[in-house]
Amino acid sequence: MATIEARGLRKTFGTTVALDGINLHVEEGRILGIIGPNGAGKTTALNAVLGLTSYEGELKVLGRDPWTNRDELMRDVSFIADVAVLPRWIRVSQLLDYVAGVHPRFDRAKAESFLARTTIKRTSKVRELSKGMVAQLHLAIVMAIDARLLVLDEPTLGLDILYRKQFYDSLLNDYFDRSRTIIVTTHQVEEVQDVLTDLMFIDRGRIVLECSMEEFDSRYLEVMVNPEHLAAARALNPLHERAVFGRNVLLFDGVGHDQLERLGEVRRPSIADLFVAVMSPHSQNVSVSASRQRGEPAGQADQVGAAK
């Protein structure tokens, strides 16, 4: 059974289409990053998965309908919706008492041991903690819950770089194993690049790109083209072209490493580079034609075109 199975998931707010019939299939043991511009529908998609919003279409999370079975589903699903959702009036000790009292899969000792590594005092109220400490506290609670799916919506927004690094390190070292699934949305894509197993770009309620990180690494290459090879490089249908220090950097989809090496310095693009390439308006035709040329499934190419 897939962790998440969605078919034609659609959500509108008045005349605004937040989710335009997306299909989603997330297997157990994956760490999926959903990347998209503000207002792309990321949070709406996650809210549907978490039973926080109604939707049209078919959606099963761990075999359950999230909208009608939220409380049952939450035994197996954890989420951090935002850095600042812990109630500000509550004491750390009360928070632990409460979660231990209502959650059948919460291991209090585990949460305490995570907290012992921080400077958070049990007697403090959440409002007395710094933003970074609140995030640590929330993460300590979530990691002590033996959930099968963890959803993180901008979990590190507004945190400094140390806390952000620590956040993902703890998640990978102390929490993630192959039996869990994690979905994360973030704007800080560099930080999750080495964390993810799967990548999804979403824009205006549609999935624009979907690939595993292995696929990402084998498909996309970036070349800092030597000026004399520029024309030859452009003839290979780059996804995107940008100028760095007066040199042209071209991003290719599915062009061989050996072939590109002759044109200039080849490197692995970052998710951010690919994101810019896929999302920039002028790259759309290139992108579609590139996919077509390589005989990509038409569906994906259409999605790229249609989303623009």
Binding site: N47, L50, G51, L52, T53, S54, R70, D71, E72, L73, M74, R75, S78, F79, I80, A81, D82, A84, V85, L86, P87, R88, W89, I90, R91, Q94, D97, Y98, V99, A100, G101, V102, H103, P104, R105, F106, D107, R108, A109, K110, H138, D146, R148, D177, S179, R180
Partner: protein, 304 residues
Amino acid sequence: MNSSETMSESAGVSDPGYRSATPQPFYWSVRRELWENRSIYVAPIIVAIVVLFGFLVSTIGLPERRRAILLGDPAKARAAIEAPYDMAAIMLILTAFIVGVFYCLDALYGERRDRSILFWKSLPVSDRTTLLSKATIPLVILPLVIFSIVVATQLVMMLWTSLLLISHGMSPASTWEYVPLFRNSFILLYGLVAIALWHAPIYGWALLISGWARRATFLWAVVPFLAIGFFEKITFGTSHFASMMKDRLMGFAPKAFSFEMHSVASPKLTPGAYLSSPGLWLGLVVAVVFVAVAIRLRRYRGPL
């Protein structure tokens, strides 16, 4: 479910190593409400302290007055001695009502305003459990809190009076005879239950508005009723609606008690009349509907 604690380190889905006491979402949700809303007991305690302070001041010269009172009509003596005790109880019951209404108006609004609803909804606690735990506060917890505070306040008042009288070489018996603490406590408990059930639709309405309004919950809760009342008065010159509202606020008294005219004796309890009054049951049905709508609303509501 109860696997050994040593396994908890390697917890995974296939090997549930958590220790699982049976979750008690309702119990912990009620406790949560008490953590968050300390006004539930702090406000009555403050009122009790003010009442006690006022009583303390009023007992200056009490022994002389007590002597004079006891020489007169016993009925009047009883009324005079009992009055401050009734006053204390009434003040505290009124406090409970105000605290209860404001608690309910904030119960579902506050969690949306501070976005903590996203945290509460991330836990396996249903909207129904949440709403029922919130409704428990004005219907069960507040009456119990008020009961204990009233009894404690009255006890302090009686002990203080007794000490004062004894120190002036008088017997405190008049106080203990005219203020039957045990019987009064029973009447108080009965009264508190009768009031809470009678007011249930008011609390239900406040919960509903609290889950629905995006701002100004108090105005949304009150203004429609004022508007309907004024509309009726201006258009038809009648005030049926206003008297309906008044009955909802105060109507428990004539149903649950029978006050003998010109008598200062404790009121008679009339549970039969109370339980058979359609107003009670109609109110309870309306309260259940309001709470059911509020449960439904919470499902659709996110942070403001």
